[in-house]
Each structure stands twice: as C-alpha cells, then as structure tokens.
Symmetry: C2
Subunit: 344 residues, 2 copies
Amino acid sequence: MTKRPQNMTILDVARLSGLSKSTVSRVLSGAPNISENAKKKVAEIVAETGYQRNEIARSLRSGRTGVVALVIPDIANPFWADVARGAQDAAVNEGTSILIFSSDWDPVREKQHLQALVKSRVDGAIINPVRDGLEDIEQFNLPIVLIGSSASRFPDMASVSSDIEQGVALGLDRLASSGLGLPVFLVGDNERSASERFLQAVRRWAAKRNVDCSGLIVENGEYNVDGGRAALERILATHAVPRAVFAANDLMALGAMQALRNKGLSCPDDVAVLGFDGIAAGEVTTPALTTVAKPSRQIGDEAFRLLMQRIEGGQGDRMTLPCTLYERGTLPARVNEPQPALMD
Amino acid sequence: MTKRPQNMTILDVARLSGLSKSTVSRVLSGAPNISENAKKKVAEIVAETGYQRNEIARSLRSGRTGVVALVIPDIANPFWADVARGAQDAAVNEGTSILIFSSDWDPVREKQHLQALVKSRVDGAIINPVRDGLEDIEQFNLPIVLIGSSASRFPDMASVSSDIEQGVALGLDRLASSGLGLPVFLVGDNERSASERFLQAVRRWAAKRNVDCSGLIVENGEYNVDGGRAALERILATHAVPRAVFAANDLMALGAMQALRNKGLSCPDDVAVLGFDGIAAGEVTTPALTTVAKPSRQIGDEAFRLLMQRIEGGQGDRMTLPCTLYERGTLPARVNEPQPALMD
DNA sequence: ATGAAAGCGCTAACAC
DNA sequence: GTGTTAGCGCTTTCAT
C-alpha cells in the first residue's frame, strides 16, 4: 500500500529515489543539466507512487497560481457564456484554469468579486466592468484585459472589444437596403456605457449617410427578453407602429418579437427586427432573428491570449474585432443596392 | 507613499503596529483572548496600508484553498450555464470561488480537467461525468458531489440530480391527456447514460400505465439544435409522420421544431413537441416550447451546499429534485382527465 | 494576552 | 550534476 498521492511530498520522492530534494525538483520542472539516471529514477518513483507536485507550495514561491479570473455580468446569458467558452478553450491548452465570476450587473457584487479575485492571487483577470469602478483594482497592478465597450474609457489598458461602430453601420445599412428608414432603438439600461456607445455610433452613421436623426426614438429596458418586450410595448403604446426595430442585444430583440406577436403584428412584413450579439437562441425563433453578430468566442480567446502576454510582462495592446451580419428571417428582402462600407 | 498592498506581509503589519507576527495573525483570524488594544492597533494599520492576507500562504498551512471546481459538459449550453449560475450564487455567500471546466463531451478533455483540478488543490468538486471514468478521481479522496444522471452509477457518493423518472412520467401523462399516443423519442448520444435512464423511465411508465411500448421509435442525435433537427428528419424520412415528439433535452426539441417547419408540418396541430430541460430559449420560439423543466439553478445551489457539507467532514447524502411542467404552446389542449401521478 | 520558533511543500541561490 | 540551505507568508504549538 503506497502513500496517498495527496500526502506525498517531494521529500518522499527524494528519499525513495536516493536523490536530494533539489534534484527531484529540477527534474520535475525540466531544468537543464540533469543526468539521465536521475531523470529515470524520478520518473519511476512518480509513476509508482502517483506523486503530484503541490501547486500551492509552488505558487507561494513563484508568486504565480496558474489561475486567471473572468468577470462577466451573467454566465447564464448566452453571449457571455460564449465568451467564457472561448477563453476557457484557450486556457486549457496553456494549462491555466479560469475562475468565473458573474456580477449580475450589480456593482456591489462586482466589487466583492474583485476583492475575492485579488485575494485568490490570480495571475490576471479578464474583466467586463459593469460600471466605471475599476479604481479598486488598478492599484493592485494586476495584469488585466478589459472586454466590452467600457474599454474605451481606459485607454491605457489592454482590451479586446467588438467594433460597435462598424456593427451598427452594418445593421443600419442593411435596414436601409430594405428601404426601411431609421428604426426605433431598444437599448439595455444596466449597461449604460454600452448603450451610449451604441447610440453614438447611430448618430455617426446618420451623419456620414446624411440621414436626419433628430427624432430618434429610443427606449431603455432590462437586458433580457422581458425587458425587450416591455420596451417595445411602451413604444407601441405611445407612437405609430415603426417599420423597424434595432435592439442593442439579441435578448431584447427576441422580446421585441414577442411584443409584435402579442399585438398581432407580423415580422418582418409589418415590422422588421434586427438584433445585436449573434446568440444561438436567435436561430430557433420563427422567423429566425437577423442580427449583427459579435465574435463572442473569439473575444474570449483573444482576451486570454492578450492576458497571457501581459502576465509574461509584455505590453498587450488594444484589439477591436469586426462584427458580421447573420442574415436570417426578420428583415424584408433588399430593394436597394448595398451601400459602400463606411470608412473612417 | 505606502507600500503596495501586494508586497506587504504580516511582518510589516507587525512592525508597524509594534506587535508580533503571531498576535497580528490571531487578530486577523479572529482568535479569542486578544486585547482590545491589539485589535485596534491592527485594524488601524490594515486600514492605513490596505494590507491583505496572502491566501496562498494560508492555503499552504491550512490545506484549504477556498476554491471548488465545477466540471460540466458545456458552459455554452444554457442548461449547464444555469446550473453554474446556481452554484456560483451559493458560493459567493460562502466566500468560495468556483473554477469552471467545460469538458465539451470529450472524455479526454475531462480527464485533463480532472487532473488540472486535483493539481490546483481545490477543496472539492461538483462533477457531471461525461462517461464512467471517475476512477482517476476517486483515489484522491477529494470531496465530490455528482450531478446528473450518472449519479445512480455511484451509489456511495453524494449527488443531486433531477427525478428523470418522475419527469418523464409527467411529460408522458401530459401527452396522453391530449389524446396523443406514445411519441417518438429523440435522445442525445454523447450522454449515453442519461439517454438510457430516460428510455428506461419511458418503459417503466408504459408498464405502469399498461401501454404497449414494444414498437418504440427512438432516434439518437448530437445534443444540440442541429442534432435534434437531423434526428427528426431521419424519422420523418423512414416512418409515418408521428403525432408527437418527446426530446430528452430542449436543444434537440428546438431542432425538431425546425425540422417540422422545413417539412411544412404545423406544430402543435400536425405534430406535438415536448422538450426536457426548461431553458430560456424555449420561451421565444413560435409556438413556445412546452417542456419538462429540471430545476437547474437549484441543482447547482444544492450541489454546492452538499459539497460544503462534505468538505466540512459531513456525509452529504443523495438528493433527487422533482421536475415541473412548463406548459406553453407546442402541445394541443388536453382532452382527457389528467392521470393520477405515478407513485413508486 | 503575547512572543519565539517550528514548520506547510516547494524553489533558487550558492556551494562543491 | 547534485546537495545544502535559506526562505516564500502564514498559522500554531509551546513557552512565558
């Protein structure tokens, strides 16, 4: 009966192999200048006993834990789950684990998480800040990569975000190509800065295309299906039926479709709906949701890579990934020539 | 300019407060028999410097990391994301962090994760095993709580799962109450044991209700929307159009709805569809998916609690949570009296 | 009530 | 190439 691997220390391996602690340690970390004999001996003992290095002790010396944190608003939201998946996949190959924190759009919760995270001594963190409260974390000079639209507010930090401006233009041009005018807009209200950036992109697009956007109809709502439904219902109650709805995220777009159905309005014949995210749930509705897709997995993937660079002492820059259009069934066919893409 | 909290040690606090290392440590861990003066002094210094205990060093001594692992097939699958959310919420309150591993239905991946997890010296793990390979982990006598249907294969381990048998009966009774006969079944094939349990429950129900189930039509498919669509398409190609489809999970049920639509079949008038999971995406389809819902968040929540009990040295038992029916739009109205519930 | 000292399991100088 | 030794930051006897 050999010792439980759990309780074996490097000292036991040393004794069993007739070598010293340090030599065993060297073999285990693949240091150069080790005799074949030592390597073999250690390998034997390890195989025999199932010994595993205690990573905690290693961490204590090296200061690195092999764990990074991912702080997102809601793991149960498909978009964020996809981002997590991307980061996760990238991390596995590096032998790194990911600690996921859902802040649930709650700044207090987020703060708790941030504290928990520096306490856990993670090597770095990928963060989508709910609000602007990054001050607490900045002082710990922990390697950080920002994701999402708040990146623009911290110009000196590494970040990866999707190109909202390009995405909005993509969507608005597509709407225009169906001969629809400016749509009404549904934006989330627990992601203020994201909404602002979205609307700003709309105005910029209008300016470039010489479209009058003085009478923009915008409704806020919670960042979920019910929020989208309620938001469109409010618009329907107070305005003429719009020709098109552009939601700043897919969940709200799905809600908008429900609101239309409830009113007996047909989509896309009466009202066109355009989403923003590209979540899988948009494929299963009738009609399927046409949407501007953010590269969610890629965002997670690139953010992780950037973070690793930063951890390794590199600079890690800012990255903007383009959006693409998932053409499905909630827009009418095109009637105009597609516009040339907007360039800055 | 005070020292960076990151580099401050308990020794610095000791020096600054004129106390000894040990006393400071005692104050910090709330030990009894400390003078008010010492408490005050330490509190001051901590407030002043922002000192934080190094959890890694603590872990090294105490053997506990304050981190638990959650191993699930796919974080991007809404059902599992919900489970994760439940566990997460429970963990926050306990000051515990959760390491999430997606095995992607891949036993090799899972094995990697399991190793990574014992290396990280987590305090315990909540696991939904892809296949039967739990041998590797059992030897580490790490506190473990199983979730999902495989729990039944490890009768001596703590577990929480949903009551498949009751859920299946619930669904089948509901189908029967609409005057529909036995449905065709769509089950996932990368979750063998779950599928078996599901079908077994079907047979048990048939026996209890005196229904002939000799000619059961069952089709396997990947555990996702496309898998469900393809599976039903295969059935449609080789059999008469069934009156009802019962999918072992919601994603496949959604796929089934797509297959029907593609064939020009109406749901629920031509074919009824019943799902199993209760994911949010089922609410947004037209018609919305009627489904037997597993208590996903609660599963995560209870699993975490059980795990904590086990970590604290308790036994932690086995727990089975009932399913409920989300009555939505993919079944025709009831025509028969509801059957009395099945009892064992 | 507090201090001194001995480790937790490992790595990294520093010797030889 | 390998062994010796001194910590990493903390908790916990054991004294006092």
